[in-house]
């Protein structure tokens, strides 16, 4: 571990803190229809959209209508993406003449991008045409992010409103977050990325003559290299800002055309956390309890620090089984476990990126998680297993955290033997039932499909590239990533098979929508309750004690659920590595 590495991590956290208030305030203002500096540009477009789509912006929706609109929107856009992939060879902007995407892969990808997962069981530059990337995938990057933020705002309204049956209008929320936030920020961010060297063109791929000719496995001489091109910067911006994570290239943010410099790396990480951190401030602002927003922020930041410290420590230590290799940091090299990492990012830039991308539901990678040390890799896995509530995905991070908040308040109430309250709302049986439904669906999907895959050599374990505990982790990571709508891959698992494409696709849909429905039900129920003024017995949700309780509940639920699976995977692999055993 180096001083500059720690400095980068501290600077990152300071920047996250610095953008939380202005971004959160801005979101609160445009969602509450207050005046913002961007109104003169966005408002006319908004009116046009409503007129074209016959949306009554004054119409308020109950949670059931809000949820149904969201599901209908997601279904239609998922089917459109499926069809687009199946007919891409007849459509323009396909200079490489790429063929139609196979049915199961098209289903998997459609589910993946609709749910903000962006799991990619394919090599983008050799599978998806420019049109599919731009119209299909990039569109979903905006739409799925907008859905996430809209749902978080609906949840916040549920907490803030009193004796009210409605949560807002889904179409209005979607339109507002897209016009006021996602489009303008992505436009500016894409230009910044271009300035760093990210490509943006519609040219056919280049062919370059390589300096040192290579030989393929069959002995054929390789003298040229195809260099993929494309409209990368425009997709890269929303990929990070919308915590989507689906790369334009297979190597994702490790590719020099997607993430060329340490500065672009830093900005990409910052953009992953930006909206989610800002939403904690929005929570405080709309619920009129700014300190509660900061208490949630503090709990998230504490979990982030624990994760990044562990990952950085584990990766800096290197691999004890590599003998005769200098693994200490010096002026000439990064030191530590550099396998699968980019030299331009080093250990700290890679460990930080891996922690951030799995704390949020982003899934972009700038190094191969499969090549991390067992403990470093476990950090990424645990981050997703906890529900990606450490700032988390855009919107999904906040509503996931708020479900844990409800549970924490309930547990605190049980401790003192009185009906729990959350910001003036009594938490009753229905609320806890919905919170538990939302929390339990994640481990149910992950552990069931992982178990089925691991006992079936024909379609499950045959796709694993590493034997032993690392192989188990590969399968566990795939389903965890899918259920958590993260999308990062542990690599090494040949996931482009009928079994994995279908089950991972289903897992993504379960992990997204089967959490959203009870979450909306909870929000709708909270909105309908009357306000109860705080009394001496009320557990305050604005203090450090509350933040500690929230962290404890998140960790205990996560540990109780996933520890057996983790002990068979990364924990066992770590112990075996220390004992000198290789597989």
């Amino acid at each position: 571990m180096t001083g500059s590495g720690w400095l980068q991590i501290l600077l990152f956290l300071a920047c996250v803190l610095a953008i939380t208030k202005p971004l959160g305030l801005y979101m609160a203002r445009f969602f509450e229809h207050e005046r913002t500096f961007f109104d003169p540009v966005a408002r006319p477009v908004e009116r046009l959209v409503y007129r074209l789509c016959c949306v009554d912006e004054k119409h308020e929706m109950r949670w059931t209508e809000y949820g149904a609109a969201m599901l209908l929107f997601s279904l239609v856009s998922m089917l459109l993406l499926y069809l687009l992939q199946r007919i891409q060879q007849f459509l323009p902007l396909n200079p490489q003449h790429l063929a139609a995407v196979g049915q199961e892969l098209a289903f998997n990808t459609a589910a993946s991008f609709t749910t903000n997962t962006n799991w990619q069981a394919y090599t983008p530059e050799t599978t998806m045409s420019y049109l599919t990337q731009m119209v299909g995938l990039a569109y979903h990057n905006f739409a799925s992010a907008a859905v996430g933020v809209s749902l978080a705002i609906a949840f916040i309204r549920g907490i803030a409103r009193r004796q009210c049956k409605t949560l807002g209008n889904f179409w209005v929320d979607m339109t507002r977050v897209t016009l006021w936030l996602l489009l303008p920020v992505s436009f500016v961010f894409a230009l910044v990325l271009v300035s760093q060297g990210v490509v943006q063109n519609l040219r056919p791929y280049d062919t370059a003559r390589i300096v040192e000719p290579q030989k393929a496995a069959d002995g054929t001489a390789i003298t040229t290299q195809i260099i993929a091109q494309g409209p990368v910067a425009s997709q890269e911006a929303i990929k990070m800002f919308g915590t989507n994570g689906g790369g334009f290239f297979n190597a994702n943010s490790a590719h020099p055309f997607e993430n060329p410099t340490p500065l672009s790396n830093f900005l990409q990480m910052l953009s992953i956390f930006a909206i989610s951190a800002g939403l904690t401030y929005t929570l405080g602002r709309i619920t009129h309890s700014q300190r509660h927003g900061w208490a949630v922020w503090a709990a998230m930041a504490a979990l982030f620090v624990v994760g990044v410290t562990t990952a950085y420590w584990a990766e800096s230590r290197g691999n004890p089984l590599l003998h005769g290799v200098a693994q200490t940091a010096s002026a000439q090299q990064n030191g530590g476990n550099m396998e699968g990492k980019e030299v331009r990012f080093g250990i700290s830039g890679s460990a930080l990126f891996a922690t951030v991308t799995t704390d949020a539901s982003c899934g972009a990678v700038n190094g191969m998680h499969d090549s991390f040390t067992p403990l470093g890799g476990m950090v990424t896995l645990v981050n997703i297993m906890l529900g990606e509530i450490v700032f988390g995905g855009v919107g999904s991070g906040l509503y996931g955290a708020l479900i844990f908040v409800v549970l924490s308040v309930f547990i605190a109430g049980l401790m003192v033997g009185r009906t729990p309250e959350y910001l003036g709302k009594k938490i009753e049986a229905f609320d806890v039932k919905m919170a538990m439904l939302a929390i339990l669906i994640l481990p149910l999907a992950i552990l069931t499909f992982t178990a089925i895959s691991l006992v079936n050599p024909s379609f499950g374990t045959s796709a694993i590239s590493n034997p032993g505990p690392h192989g188990l982790t590969q399968v566990l990571y795939a389903y965890t990533s899918a259920a958590g709508n993260n999308g990062s891959a542990f690599a090494g698992l040949g996931a482009n098979t009928v079994w994995y494409n279908l089950t991972l696709g289903v897992t993504m849909l379960i992990g997204r929508f089967f959490i959203i429905v009870p979450m909306l039900a909870l929000a709708g129920n909270l909105a309908s309750k009357k306000y109860v003024p705080p009394s001496l017995g009320t557990f305050p949700v604005t203090t450090a004690t509350f933040s500690m309780l929230l962290i404890s509940v998140i960790l205990i639920v996560g540990a109780l659920t996933f520890f057996p699976a983790l002990s068979l995977g990364p924990v066992l692999e770590h112990l075996q590595m220390q004992a000198g055993k290789v597989f």
Binding site: W63, T64, G67, A68, L71, S74, L75, M78, L79, Y82, R86, I87, Q89, F90, Q96, H97, L98, A99, A100, V101, G102, Q103, E104, L105, A106, F107, A110, A111, Y122, T123, T126, T127, A216, I226, N250, F430, K433, M434, L437, N496, V506, L509, F513, F514, V517, P518, L520, A521, N525
Partner: protein, 55 residues
Amino acid sequence: LAWQTCSSCKVLPREKQKELFWGRWLEMRDLLMIAFAVLMFLLLFGYIRGCDRLR
């Protein structure tokens, strides 16, 4: 390596692509995928109703 071994990256002649597409389009597999997705969402609409009634 991925470039050379990826199964979905074969560039077929346009006519062959067309033939493959139209021959396959109305096959059961495509309909199954679409029906499966619709079924999942119908289940979710039912889930909304179920949660609402639970209250």
